[in-house]
């Protein structure tokens, strides 16, 4: 659509003279549909946003020569919509809810125009101007919202990638990598590289890879696992795979994957026990008094050679 020239000041005058009334009706429009959605604002927050927006809207209308909200004259309004859309995107509002913020201004505004009346031609002109401006602003809002959502998702993905390398030292020489969530290729790769690096840095001899939190293991995931085990072995470290849940075990068998070369244990605790044993340690229960056992256990000293 091509932008249209504004009839000198009529719309601006009307909005300026009836700001309070428009504001009340507009807020009313928006609170009327509240309750059917998850994310929401409290009413005073909403009112403050609407008020600030109406002010900017009026000021831009005063100075603007056309309905082209992309032009410089509408910069203040755009800035405000930009900020609002981003804030709402972060709060989890949907794009249609964001468009509704702008579109719901139509009813109060058109109602007012009709009330004021005047000759048919100028009523039609002003209504048309208002429609154009609001539609364009709604479009702009949805675009900003979309961009903001994409940015949020990209950032979260990056954070996940970093979060997904939690190699922890369980005991001197014993590492654990608790894998959680969906393992796409990039994430698995990052995790495995970080495990190998930590093996190198700490000179560990055993690494436990725990997949309790992994919903599916396909051939690509398995391949990453097997490659890591082989690489670790070349570096002098043994890997133990723990936390294979029943549904995953069955699926692995049907897929035809051979994890025979790997030590596997049902739980991380079992794997840790094996790791301690292999590094020459045992877990013993400590007695605290005659006949009384404390619930505490301690990891024994390395046995005499």
């Amino acid at each position: 659509m091509s932008a249209q020239g504004l009839k000198k000041g009529r719309l601006a005058g009307i909005v300026g003279n009836h700001e309070a009334e428009i504001l009340a009706n507009w807020v009313g429009e928006q609170t009327a549909v509240k309750g059917r959605r998850g994310a929401s604002l409290n009413e005073s927050e909403l009112r403050a946003q609407c008020e600030a927006f109406l002010r900017a809207f009026r000021e831009s209308l005063n100075g603007a020569a056309s309905t082209d909200v992309e032009s410089n004259e509408w910069r203040a309004v755009r800035g405000m919509l930009d900020e609002l859309s981003r804030a709402r995107a972060a709060k989890g509002f949907s794009s249609s809810e964001m468009a509704f913020f702008v579109m719901s201004l139509k009813r109060p505004l058109f109602g007012l125009l009709r009330e004021i009346g005047g000759d048919a031609q100028s009523l039609a002109d002003t209504t048309w101007e208002a429609t154009e401006i609001l539609d364009r602003m709604a479009l702009f809002t949805t675009e900003v919202y979309q961009k903001a959502r994409e940015e949020i998702i990209a950032r979260q993905q990056e954070e996940m990638l970093e979060l997904s390398t939690p190699v922890v030292t369980l005991w001197k020489g014993i590492l654990a990598l608790p894998m959680i969530g969906t393992l796409d290729s990039a994430r698995t790769q990052t995790m495995m590289e970080s495990l190998l690096q930590t093996i190198l840095d700490t000179g560990s001899s055993i690494a436990i890879i725990d997949i309790t939190g992994v919903p599916t293991v396909d051939t690509l995931t398995a391949q990453h696992l097997l490659k890591t085990v082989t690489a670790a072995r070349l570096m002098g470290a043994e890997c133990i795979l723990s936390g294979i849940r029943p549904q995953i075990a069955q699926t692995i068998v049907h897929l035809g994957l051979d994890l025979g070369g790997m030590i596997t244990k049902a739980s991380l605790a079992d794997a840790f026990a094996v790791a301690l044993e292999r590094t020459g340690r045992t877990i013993v229960r400590v007695r605290t008094g005659p006949g009384r056992e404390s619930t505490a256990t301690a990891i024994g000293m390395d046995p005499p050679a």
Binding site: D184, T216, D218, T219, L220, P246, Q247, H254, L255
Partner: protein, 133 residues
């Protein structure tokens, strides 16, 4: 009888994650056991990755089925890639023309109740899998 359908695109590894999530949702809705859900999800993951990696991307069609009181899920993976010249060979455990383990096709066939593959060199590949509750 088909009671519900949907189609998802396969153009990135993120799409594969989304497909796995969708299969989990559909199979859970159908009341599949955890084991059966996992089998179908894993097969879907393999076939979607093949469509992406070898077929240059494609799509997967979801169909909820009902036949003489039994309910099931059918997934059809379709791409317009180079096709598979020798299907029997491709279905052999361990056969790969890429860097994979060569267990995607043969393994997913073992994970489902019905498995069909149609491929024409130069035109593309279509794999259909079905699992009944």
């Amino acid at each position: 009888m088909t009671s519900k359908t949907d189609t998802l695109e396969v153009h990135s590894s993120t799409d594969i994650v989304l497909i796995r999530q969708a299969v989990r949702k559909w199979t859970a809705e159908l009341g599949f056991s955890l084991v059966d859900q996992t089998k179908m999800i894993t097969a879907a993951s393999e076939l979607a990755r093949n469509a992406l990696e070898y077929g240059g991307g494609g799509e997967v069609r979801f169909e909820q089925l009902e036949k003489s009181g039994r309910r099931g899920l059918r997934l059809t993976f379709e791409d317009h890639g180079p096709g598979i010249p020798d299907i029997e060979q491709a279905l052999t455990d361990g056969f790969t023309t890429g860097q994979g383990m060569g267990l995607g096709l043969s393994g997913s066939r073992r994970l489902v109740n019905e498995f069909e593959i149609a491929s024409t060199v130069g035109e593309g590949t279509r794999v259909t899998i079905t699992r009944w509750k």
